[in-house]
Amino acid sequence: AQTVTQSQPEMSVQEAETVTLSCTYDTSESDYYLFWYKQPPSRQMILVIRQEAYKQQNATENRFSVNFQKAAKSFSLKISDSQLGDAAMYFCAYIRGNNDMRFGAGTRLTVKP
């Protein structure tokens, strides 16, 4: 079974600073997809960024970027120039093909003004 581990239950960052959220996963597959989802207090699950395992280039979306280390099975999320609106629960997720998406336990990010 594939498992996803987020080792940081809570993180804090000063507004305008940079923070990195960690994620590791366990799989024997070579072809899969990785995601970061954001869940604000509204409870909505919002896709932040995604990465195909066969792509060596790290994905970026504006202030959000990932550090994908396939051999180490690591998929960290970097948030640059943190904003108050970034405060939320962040979930790392893994999926292979049409199998179900597997989630980490989440990291709660607090942004201090």
């Binding site: 996803v4 987020q6 239950p9 997809y33 995601f35 509204s42 409870r43 909505q44 699950m45 896709l47 995604r50 979930f91 997720a93 999926i95 049409n98 179900d100 998406m101 989630f103 980490g104 336990a105 989440g106």
Partner: protein, 114 residues
């Protein structure tokens, strides 16, 4: 946006009563999923469907059943609710296209069993 709606948004029910949660989608997606979210566990799969009348169990299926009689509707039923089923429930659909793939989630149902 995949147009997924969940109902109800909140529900309080008594132990032992049956409860049905509804998920409705408007874009003819084949795969639909029910997850529950609990602190310290992230989201865990309850059941999923890969077509009308085609469903299968997920990681935490005990105490739950599902039905899908139409492509657009996926129902989750708690036959006899227990306090351990107090949770937030999410429905999702999967989509796969060139450069555009992942899951889209409904807004969730907070269920409290008292």
């Amino acid at each position: 946006d995949a147009g997924i709606t969940q109902s109800p948004r909140h529900k309080v029910t008594e132990t032992g009563t049956p409860v049905t949660l509804r998920c409705h989608q408007t874009e003819n997606h084949r795969y639909m999923y029910w997850y529950r979210q609990d602190p310290g566990h992230g989201l865990r799969l309850i059941h999923y469907s890969y077509g009308v009348k085609d469903t299968d169990k997920g990681e935490v299926s005990d105490g739950y059943s599902v039905s899908r009689s139409k492509t657009e509707d996926f129902l989750l039923t708690l036959e006899s609710a227990t306090s351990s089923q107090t949770s937030v429930y999410f429905c999702a659909i999967s989509y796969w296209g060139t450069g555009n793939y992942g899951y889209t989630f409904g807004s969730g149902t907070r269920l409290t069993v008292v």
